[in-house]
């Protein structure tokens, strides 16, 4: 071993040099290069898929953030809205939205006349260019400002979905041939009014902040209220799943004896993480609604169901984070006289916190995109609730969630809803990307490696 010299090992019969590669080495190197190429190809395919997805989503969905508006001066006729002239709010409330239609018709005809548009259409057909929600908008304004009755006020109404589609290029004169919702003569008027500046397309904040609308007014539908529904559900998930999940993992990881009972628990937690989410929906319906009598369609129930779904994910990631803290930290703490609990809460938990938070955020992101369990507890459907004002109302009044809203829109007859479904996907994706980015940043900045 010590008496090593080159001469003691006689050269083998084949002369090789490190500078010329043997066949074996060449083969190994080629294998390595090929494997790298496979890897790059796999990444390229993945990126291509992502690109196709993103391009499709943004290509189809960006239209939803723009909407066509019609600016009209409406004379709030006293004879129609308040016959007594006493501005008594109860009298004014008695006029339903149907009673406001003549005002809108009149305003539309007046605009046509003012801009010198030549058309043979009747005022009802002209008003058909506006959203069906125009009357509701008018009524809400009058009820809020009864003193304005008798005045002429400028309103910015939404245009109906076909007109909007025409300006966005989705609807053409050919495609409406058999359409009874709009005629070519109406599109002529639209062209003239666009030229006059009465009809214009602009950014639509209501798509982000508004509530769902019925099948007749896709132009008025928005994500805002369902976004709040998702927010309140996430609040419930965070308030329940995080403390319960962390407490369970700390006990299992730091305190529990390692025996067959904890083994069974461990297997079950891993199992629960793999259970299809619809099962949690069935459970939620049976336990929270039918047994506990919590209200249907409420974000509280949605949050509870999603808590059950997220809990295993959080427990598993928290346990992994706790495991990653080296035992020497615990030993040192115990060695200077700390109790077991002190060592966990003063030393182990702070070190594991970034990992726990990352797992929680990823669990929340998963819950945010979940539709299936919500189907069974009544959160998928036409739920056009107004924005909740208090925490209790937000938790208990019926609401939808972002993915449920997207699903609902994708099912509806009017193609305009389809565009909104894609638009909704963009908003949901932005949320998911933000959450996942925060998770990655947290891990990068605070995670310690040993």
């Amino acid at each position: 071993m010590t008496d090593f010299s080159p001469s003691s090992t006689p050269p083998t019969s084949v002369q090789t040099s490190l500078l010329t590669l043997s066949d074996r080495t060449k083969k190994r190197n080629a294998n390595e290069r090929r494997f790298k190429a496979y890897g790059i190809a796999a990444i390229a395919v993945g990126l291509l898929m992502l690109l196709v997805l993103v391009v499709t989503i943004f290509g189809r969905g960006t239209g939803a953030f723009q909407q066509t508006f019609v600016t009209l001066d409406v004379e709030l006729l006293e004879s129609k809205l308040d016959k007594t002239g006493e501005r008594n709010i109860e009298d004014i409330e008695r006029i339903s939205t149907f009673g406001y239609a003549p005002l809108v018709n009149g305003a539309m005809s007046a605009a046509i006349e003012q801009h010198g548009v030549d058309t043979s259409l009747k005022s009802k057909q002209l008003a058909g260019l506006l959203s069906k929600g125009a009357v509701a908008q008018l009524r809400a304004y009058v009820l809020a400002n009864p003193q304005q009755i008798g005045e002429t006020v400028e309103f910015r109404f939404l245009a109906q979905s076909r007109v909007d589609g025409y300006l966005k290029g989705r609807v053409s004169r050919d495609s409406i041939e058999n359409d009874k919702n709009i005629s070519a003569a109406q599109l002529d008027v639209v062209d003239a009014l666009v030229a006059a500046g009465v009809i214009e397309k602009s950014f639509n904040l209501d798509f982000i902040l508004g509530s769902d609308a019925s099948d007749q007014r896709p132009e008025a539908a928005g994500m805002g209220v369902s976004m709040l529904g998702s927010f309140f559900m996430m609040l419930v998930v965070l308030a329940l799943a995080l403390p319960i999940g962390v407490a369970a993992s700390i006990y299992l990881e730091e305190f529990a004896p390692k025996n067959w009972i904890t083994d069974i628990i461990e297997v079950n937690i891993a199992n629960l993480a793999a259970v299809p989410s619809i099962v949690y929906g069935i459970l939620g319906l049976a336990v929270f609604i039918n047994y506990m009598h919590l209200p249907m369609s409420a974000p509280l129930v949605g949050g509870l169901v999603l808590t059950l779904m997220t809990l295993p994910t959080i427990i598993i990631s928290t346990r992994a984070a706790l495991k990653a803290v080296p035992p020497s930290i615990r030993d040192a703490a115990l060695g200077v006289g700390a109790s077991k609990m002190q060592s966990v809460f003063h030393h182990v938990l702070p070190l594991a916190a970034p990992g726990i938070l990352t797992g929680t955020i990823i669990g929340l992101a998963q819950a945010l995109g979940e539709t299936a369990p919500l189907l069974l507890i009544g959160m998928v459907g036409f739920i056009a609730s107004n924005a909740p004002e208090t925490l209790g109302e937000g938790l208990l009044s019926p609401n939808s969630a972002m993915p449920a809203q997207i699903y609902e829109w994708a099912k509806r007859a009017d193609p305009a809803f389809y565009e909104r479904a894609w638009g909704g996907i963009i908003i949901l994706l932005l949320f998911l990307v933000t959450m996942n980015t925060v998770a990655v940043v947290l891990r990068r900045r605070f995670e310690r490696r040993w």
Partner: protein
């Protein structure tokens, strides 16, 4: 140890909100996806014009909706079930067993079922006979019932192009399926004489039982992939036709009217479907649409009766109302329905 406090407070909040959750203050509706658009239009207008919150409308199909409706009485069950067919005896019985006894039946109007294909494909002029010959599992050839041999529409009717038969029909949980079976397949079965043939060979204790067995044999459809059940909504049927230009789908009239740029409609017995031809009764494939209200919930759930009354009000469901604009064929006997709703007349009271 802040998280221990957090857990405790979170649990307290959850418990507190759970106990606070006593009264539901909005109407809950579920059922037929055909009625869903109408119900959501009414719900929206209801929320705008009344001080009650906007009702929640879910879909899922008539049968699924009625099943949920019959789960029992109480705030955790729905108040209204939408249906694109009349409630069955079996369902009334199931309802009664769960304690749902006083049911108010409300007919909101009529809806047409149309057959539509890809806009760029062949145009069709169907009769019920054509559909029976295309989709039944057995048809009559030379006085004998044989397994359906037809592969293309030209086999069914020489006047048609030789386009492979590919039909997308609503699944059995949809009320539309039943109307399709009754008004199209059964009508075709009777027209071809197959019904009489089956009836002659049918077994049963009574004439009624024999007739029932024959009807059942008539409407059993072939299962060789030519006819595909669609369990989802019409959007799924539309997507199937989009990917298979030979496909012919069954749609509601309102859905077709919203997608005239992608679909062309076929005539049935020479009549083009429209709200007018359905209202006059010329177009044969139409059916009434209903919703069912639990009387026990009236007075408990705020706004329930007002919503039911508003649904059938002249300004909503009448010939000039928003529902009719969307594709509903207004009920000529609407005023009777309005009276029945106002009186809370339950099923079995008068009809």
């Amino acid at each position: 140890m802040s998280f221990v406090k957090l857990t405790a407070s979170a649990l307290t909040i959850a418990a507190a909100t759970a106990t606070a959750a006593t009264a539901r203050d909005q109407v809950q509706v579920a059922g037929s996806s055909t009625v869903l658009p109408y119900a959501s239009i009414v719900a929206e207008a209801f929320g705008e014009n009344f001080d009650f919150p906007t009702p929640v409308v879910e879909s899922g199909g008539s049968s699924a909706g009625l099943k949920r409706f019959c789960e029992g009485v109480g705030e955790n069950t729905i108040d209204i079930a939408n249906a694109s067919r009349r409630i069955k005896e079996k369902e009334i019985k199931a309802c009664a067993e769960a304690g749902v006894t006083d049911i108010i039946e409300v007919r909101i109007g009529y809806d047409g079922i149309v057959f539509a294909s890809d806009i760029n494909g062949n145009a069709f002029e169907f009769t019920p006979t054509d559909w029976f010959l295309a989709l039944s599992d057995e048809i009559m050839v030379d006085g004998k019932m044989v397994a359906n041999p037809n592969k293309t529409w030209a086999d069914v009717n020489p006047a048609f192009p030789a386009q492979p038969i590919q039909a997308f029909i609503p699944g059995t949980k949809h009320g539309t399926r039943e109307v399709f079976e009754d008004k199209v397949i059964l009508a075709g079965c009777e027209a071809t004489g197959a019904f009489e043939h089956i009836l002659a060979g049918a077994t049963g204790d009574s004439a009624k039982a024999q007739k029932k067995a024959a009807e059942k044999a008539c409407i059993s459809l072939r299962t060789d992939g030519v006819s595909v059940d669609i369990d989802g909504d019409y959007t799924e049927t539309l997507a199937r036709i989009g990917s298979n230009a030979d496909g012919i789908g069954v749609f509601g009239l309102a859905f077709y009217e919203n997608n005239t740029d992608k679909l062309q409609v076929a005539t049935m017995s020479g009549i083009v479907p429209s709200t007018e031809s359905i209202a006059t009764g010329e177009y044969p494939v139409s059916r009434p649409l209903f919703f069912y209200v639990k009387q026990a919930h009236i007075g408990v759930i705020p706004g329930l009766k007002e919503f039911a009354e508003f649904f059938v009000a002249d300004e909503v469901a009448g010939p000039d109302g928003p529902l009719s604009e969307y594709g509903l064929v207004a009920d000529p006997e609407l005023s009777q329905t309005q009276d029945a709703v106002a009186d809370e007349a339950t099923m079995g009271d008068n009809s």
